[in-house]
């Protein structure tokens, strides 16, 4: 007697839903620019090449890699990254072979440094580039420090923002101690060739802070 085993997928899984959704968007004549954001974790570091292959299957969607961020807003502070990072290099080699655009080599170097638990001291552009706002309007200093500056709907919010910048001016030079272990690469690690722009802009900001406009 033959026995038939039937395996039915009741819940298609979040991966299938996401990939099918991207394919549906790409099939439309007008669609947004689409990119994949991949967080590097213990659980996926040995198989990062699979993301490059997925990008290839999707026609070469840009993949932005960022390391797991432990500190700051919304992150699991109990997560410990402790893996061999050779998977990062294999992934980069495959992306090069397939000509898939991924995070720049300069940024990947900083990500590797972060994953090895080495301090990163460099001018940050998070505070003056982005404003991180909660559903209630509360504005955080940045993703890592997480201090609430005030509410964006407050009448004096603009003044609060400038005062908080003056208070946290060390972020502009990268010398704020809380920043050393920050891995929020999107805002902290400029892509290739842009570091000098961040450095120059931050020096201009510092000059403003030292001027009467902030006193």
């Amino acid at each position: 007697m033959q026995v038939y085993t039937m395996i039915l997928e009741i819940n298609p899984g979040i991966f299938s839903l996401a990939v099918n959704g991207i394919k549906e968007l790409l099939a439309k004549e007008k669609h947004p620019n689409i990119e994949i954001d991949c967080t590097i974790l213990n659980e996926n570091i040995s198989s990062l090449e699979s993301i490059v292959k997925l990008s290839k299957d999707l026609g070469g969607v840009f993949v932005d890699f960022d390391p797991v961020q432990i500190l700051g807003v919304g992150n699991n502070s109990k997560y410990k990254f402790q893996s061999d990072i050779s998977g990062v290099f294999k992934m980069q080699e495959l992306a090069k072979k397939y000509n898939i655009e991924i995070t720049s080599p300069e940024k990947m170097k900083l990500i590797e440094k972060y994953l090895k638990n080495q301090n990163i001291v460099m001018p940050c552009y998070s505070y003056c580039k982005d404003m991180l706002i909660s559903p209630k309007g509360d504005v955080h200093t940045c993703w890592t420090i997480g201090e609430v500056i005030g509410n964006v709907l407050d009448n004096d919010f603009v003044n609060l923002w400038y005062k908080a910048l003056a208070k946290n001016k060390d972020v502009l030079t990268g010398n704020k101690k809380e920043c050393f272990g920050c891995g929020f690469s999107h805002s902290r690690m400029p892509d290739v060739g842009y570091s000098h722009i961040v450095e120059k802009a931050n020096q201009i900001r510092l000059a403003h802070i030292e001027s009467k406009s902030f006193k």
Binding site: F15, E35, I36, S47, G74
Partner: protein, 148 residues
């Protein structure tokens, strides 16, 4: 907002100009909710499934427009879980903001038209090309029914 190389250069030039003018940032990351249909192992946001008040979110978008912001990123939690997300996207776009969204991608099929029409940049978080690894990271494994 990440975007590709041309936009990155533009963003960096804007960053420098902003510093020269001592102006506020131009790039807002607005969490429309904390709710999420995934429970990612590296994230804590889903533990407080708060949905932002729609009227308040409209007010925030108004304020950002008045403060001359150019970009808004709608994220969460999972932004596509917000019951008025389509309206929020259209509202932000009509205010002249360039709209980016960060999503886990699981609900894209329910919002295809509004996304195609009004979203400039869509960031889909996918942490592996291997379905099982990805779904395990999302802490939302697939369920199977097995019968013999």
């Amino acid at each position: 907002m990440q975007m590709n190389e041309n936009n990155k250069l533009k963003k960096m030039q804007m960053y420098l100009l902003n510093a020269e003018e001592n102006a506020l940032p131009k790039d807002a990351y607005l969490q429309v909710d904390f709710a999420c249909n995934a429970k990612c192992i590296m994230c804590d946001i889903w533990k407080n499934p708060f949905i932002g008040d729609t009227v308040l979110l409209y007010s925030i978008i108004d304020k950002l427009s008045n403060l001359n912001f150019e970009y808004i990123t709608l994220w969460g939690g999972e932004p596509l879980l917000h019951p008025k997300i389509d309206d929020l996207i259209v509202y932000a776009k009509n205010k002249g903001l360039k709209v980016q969204m960060i999503t886990n991608g699981s609900l894209l099929d329910e919002h295809i038209d509004v996304i195609c029409e009004h979203v400039n940049n869509l960031v889909v978080s996918i942490d592996s090309g291997n379905a099982s690894i990805h779904d395990d990271i999302r802490n939302k494994p697939r369920h199977f029914f097995i019968s013999c």
